[in-house]
Amino acid sequence: MNDKKVIWKRKPLIKNRLLRIGLILLISTYLLSVFLTTEIDWQRILEGIPRGKIFIFAFFPPDFITRSDEILAGIFESLWMTIVATIVGILISIPVSLGAAKNIAPKFVYFLSRGVITLSRSFQEVILAIFFVKLMGFGPFAGMVTLSLSTIGFFAKLLSEDIEEINKSQAEAIKSTGSSWFQWVNYGVQPQVMPRFIGLSLYRLDINFRESAVIGIVGGGGIGSTLNTAFDRYEFETAAAVLIVIISIVMIVEYTSSHLRKLIK
């Protein structure tokens, strides 16, 4: 019998010891430098704690009644904005996504459409909203334009990826009947991407509603404006009510859209 105890040690995640120690050092210097360069005003935080308490207590119970008109108006405005923006955005992204599919579009159109998609994806909705509010004035129209534009980047990118993966033989069969280009797209391509198309539309509707809450903060209309006003007036009970309304609508929309997407599949 061997007296020595055999001890098993877990293998380290990173085998190279030098790399392991180097990574730890790197991370700790980074954390230290963050800590040193970040100004944190403890005085202000101490001041804010009672305010935070007030805000948390505002949820029990939230005040739906005092500003109920404004909350309702904001919600409906957000809904109109979302619906119109999603439809407009999708209508524009259909040609863009056809252009951005490598197997359909000629090189020139491909790069042009990819450019449109990249442009629409590179800025956050809020930044776009600031500029559209500046250009078109306050209100839901600017918000709608913003949401439509950001829909293009999302929708056209994902749809064009789906178009690139279609079954070629089906498309070719349609082509061999002597169809025109539009007939070819309509009967050869469109039926193949339709399930994805509907799924993406529902998903984007969901995202657009969430984003519409933010766009209001910079003047794009909708429930965000109501929320921002409530914060500006320090009416935390109303703000809590608005937040609860947003959360519940998002939950309803998300639940229905995921249910519908499953149904379609």
């Binding site: 360069t37 970040t38 800025f123 930044i127 709608m144 933010v214 929320l227 937040l243």
Partner: protein
């Protein structure tokens, strides 16, 4: 695919009459809803400004060019702050998301009746509130600055990472756990040797993905005062210093592209 007989020749249509009618009805209803909504929006719009917007846009572009390039030097600190908000926020978010994910996964939750719905509720509410709204809320509580941004990004990341992580936990291979269980391991040991190694790849890719998203979001939380380059953007727009604004926009694009490039690199290196 019904074939229709005309007087002297046959032709076909894609759908039969009933389906055609249904489609038509759907389009009709859709158009009705669309025009109704658009009408409501247009009633709140001052069309004069909208029709004038192209002049305004040209004017704005004229003011934005040429960009004030030497302004870029003052942007280095805000960009550093933005990166920190995203990185530290992601770290905090994922760290909180781990226990929540274990509580809400069907196969690891200790109590299905009470803790699981609670954890799921936390995940959903964190997900449904945008980080800018979280920031708005936190600026009121902890004051303007980087800290509010970090917490806002962290809170928003909890829901995203928690959801993806608990889905990954639910999909693990039960046989491996059984094997660990058969050696007489206790609950904690099953966790560290049975579950964690299986979800580690998912965890890494989720965190990297979220970091990439958070860089984008960290550029805008500053608009409501929560630190980073957004504060600078808000200030310069307020000053109508458009030549500086164009530099900031350029900086944001560069930061976003950089983050995309680095995440692609890391992903290729690790996974």
């Amino acid at each position: 695919m019904p074939i229709i007989k005309q007087k002297d020749y046959k032709t076909w249509k894609k759908f039969d009459r009933k389906r055609d009618l249904q489609n038509w009805l759907c389009w009709f209803l859709g158009t009705l809803i669309f025009s109704f909504c658009f009408g409501l929006i247009s009633s709140k719009t001052i069309w004069f400004y909208v029709f004038d917007s192209h002049n305004e846009a040209l004017d704005l572009l004229g003011r934005m060019f040429p960009p004030e390039t030497n302004y870029f030097l003052t942007l280095i600190k805000p960009i550093w702050d933005t990166l920190n908000i995203a990185t530290i926020g992601t770290t905090i978010g994922t760290l909180i998301a781990i226990p929540l994910a274990f509580l809400s996964a069907n196969n690891t939750t200790p109590s299905k009746k009470f803790l699981r719905p609670l954890a799921l509720f936390c995940i959903v509410s964190s997900r449904s509130i945008n980080s800018v709204i979280w920031a708005l809320l936190l600026v009121a509580v902890v004051g303007p600055g980087v800290l509010a941004g970090i917490i806002a990004i962290g809170l928003r990341s909890i829901g995203f990472c928690g959801k993806l992580l608990y889905e990954a936990i639910e999909e693990i291979d039960e046989n491996q756990i059984e094997a660990i269980e058969a050696t007489g391991a206790n609950k904690a040991q099953i966790m560290t040797f049975g579950i964690v190694p299986q979800i580690l790849p998912a965890f890494t890719s989720i965190s990297i993905y979220r970091w990439d998203i958070n860089i984008r979001e960290a550029t805008v939380v500053g608009l409501v005062g929560a630190g980073g380059i957004g504060i600078e953007l808000d200030a310069q727009i307020g000053d109508l210093a458009w030549a500086k604004v164009s530099v900031i926009l350029l900086a944001i694009v560069v930061t976003v592209v950089f983050s995309e490039w680095i995440t692609a690199k890391i992903r290729r290196f690790i996974l």
